[in-house]
Symmetry: C2
Subunit: 335 residues, 2 copies
């Protein structure tokens, strides 16, 4: 089915209200889910709602939580998310960091005891819209095998980077896994073969059989380097937030455990640091790349964020495709 953005926001808001989420928090969580669907990141879209609601109902997420934030030093904010909704905690932290970076050039936030952030793009977009440079790291359940291994020991640990330009911001938002778990489950359901490099089976052998991949592990993107990068991000986040690592990480894919992953936000204000015309310079450079000669067979060169922006505009105009089963599952949460 096709739904408008307004209609998805309305449904999610009503569901969350029915489960005790205050209006402002519900609006934030609803926007983050709808943005996931608008940009084609459906694994961060409406299909997440049943787990979010289940966690609230089970007392694992407190939708009325007030995070406890403490400036350990001028530029470092330690945050206990108090089991709050991930996007609610995160946007509060981002806004504090933007303000502090405006004053002293740099602010870093380290969050524990919060819940799943959803798609990261929105956080770095908020930072870039303030004329600042942002990086966001977060960890997840172990879903990715180490290079040479077959057991999932590393999170899909995404990284997001936002940089202001004179026009639309640069927005990188990528997982260090080759693919999401949700996509492998969808391929398995549809009986479609997996592309090379996405996953291994239970023996650690690369497999195109999605059913076997479900019992195996997701591969890191880019081989050994992607494994190394994803692992580095897990260590950095755990080292700065005190969050759990590897197979001990729980609470973003289930409605049974307190969430013990961590989130790290880095915000820099070039202006406060004395650098001028950063947005203009970065925008010009990206335009040079976009207009550089195409490879044979290619039709365009994008900067990160371009494709999601086009898809978002098209879906705002013509509606968002949502699977019936996902919509119906969300509606059932109203009762």
């Amino acid at each position: 089915m096709m739904v408008t953005h307004d209609r998805e926001i309305d449904l999610v808001s009503r569901v969350l209200a029915a489960h005790g989420v205050p209006d402002a928090a519900a609006a934030t969580q609803a926007e983050v889910l709808a943005e996931g669907d608008l940009r084609g990141q459906h694994s961060h879209g409406l299909q997440r709602l049943p787990i979010i609601v289940g966690r609230i109902d089970n007392g694992l997420t407190d939708p009325t939580a007030v995070p406890v934030a403490r400036w350990v030093s001028e530029s470092f904010l330690e945050v206990d998310g108090a089991r709050g909704l991930g996007p609610v905690v995160a946007f509060d932290v981002v806004d504090r960091l933007i303000g502090r970076a405006r004053d002293v050039g740099l602010a870093v936030g380290a969050v524990h005891n919060s819940n799943h952030l959803g798609m990261l793009a929105g956080y770095v977009e908020r930072i870039a819209a303030a004329g600042q440079i942002g990086l966001v790291l977060t960890t997840s359940e172990a879903l990715v095998h180490p290079w040479g291994g077959r057991r999932a020991m590393v999170g899909t640990n995404p990284i997001a980077v936002g940089v202001p330009t004179a026009a639309e911001p640069f927005v990188l938002d990528m997982s260090t896994g080759a693919v999401s778990r949700g996509k492998i489950l969808a391929y398995a359901r549809d009986g479609r073969p997996l592309p090379d490099g996405w996953a291994v089976d239970a023996d650690g052998a690369p497999t195109a059989d999605a059913g076997r991949a479900v019992d195996g592990a997701i591969s890191p993107f880019g081989g050994a380097k992607g494994y190394a990068l994803g692992l580095a991000l897990e260590l950095v986040v755990a080292g700065l937030t005190g969050s759990e690592t590897g197979e001990r990480v729980l609470g973003t894919l289930d409605a049974a455990a307190v969430c013990n992953k961590g989130d790290v936000f880095l915000v820099f204000s070039p202006e406060a640091l004395g650098l001028s015309a950063v947005a203009e310079r970065m925008g010009s450079y990206l335009d040079e790349i976009r207009t550089s000669p195409l490879a044979s067979g290619a039709t365009s060169i994008d900067a990160p964020g371009d494709r999601a922006r086009r898809l978002r505009a098209e879906r705002m105009a013509h509606g968002i495709p949502i699977e019936d089963i996902v919509w119906n599952a969300a509606e059932e949460l109203l009762t």
Copy 2:
């Protein structure tokens, strides 16, 4: 030929002294080159010496430079490298950042007007040895094509991450290019076919012909994601240091232009941030990964840095293989 570590250090130190480099600076630069060769990163080893010396002789690098470092705020150090030798400037910055992070938990250094850093591993190892977490980013000449493009528009922009453990530190040091330019040149010289994914020809078509790759561009590691990551790192470094971007970056591969890339160092002290037992926890997690079940056909699971550490130990014991042509070129710089 095989040379001992001491012999390589001795040769480099004598060459640098003969070109006006003070003893302490020569020792630092020599260690960084020798460490590159010890760990098999020969493109950051002795073969770099002729360019380093050429830059000094041409007045592009000032081996007696005193960098100008200024704390813009409590946690942000702006550094004008004053055209100094890259490793000399960088270790000075790293030491200042370690000291500041010890006091306030976090310190970031942004360096411009310095020279090539060489292998990054040593900088994050210094940070990890102080019980701190370090990230290093630096840019380079445009050598990598954007995804969908055929002209080299993005640097090989490496990232290094160091994390302390109870035993040896975690050390990630990786380029966002699939391979170094030096390796493609070596394959071309030997007439060997390139592995898939390393490079494209002048038309942007993937090629196994190293000779055609020399006229083309290096591919990003990991496809579109690696392109996006490398580009993000270039923007972050340029945005924080005021360094140049894309095809305007000069001065790490030539002896003709002032170096206008940038370097960013991020240092965090978990202890100063109130986090305990980080080294022990991270070490345990890495051991869990190393001892997790092997994939079929694999013989070991390494953490980043393990392989380089083994190679280093073996070469310290039995010598470093150096190509005759590289050694002879270095010796000629004595005269």
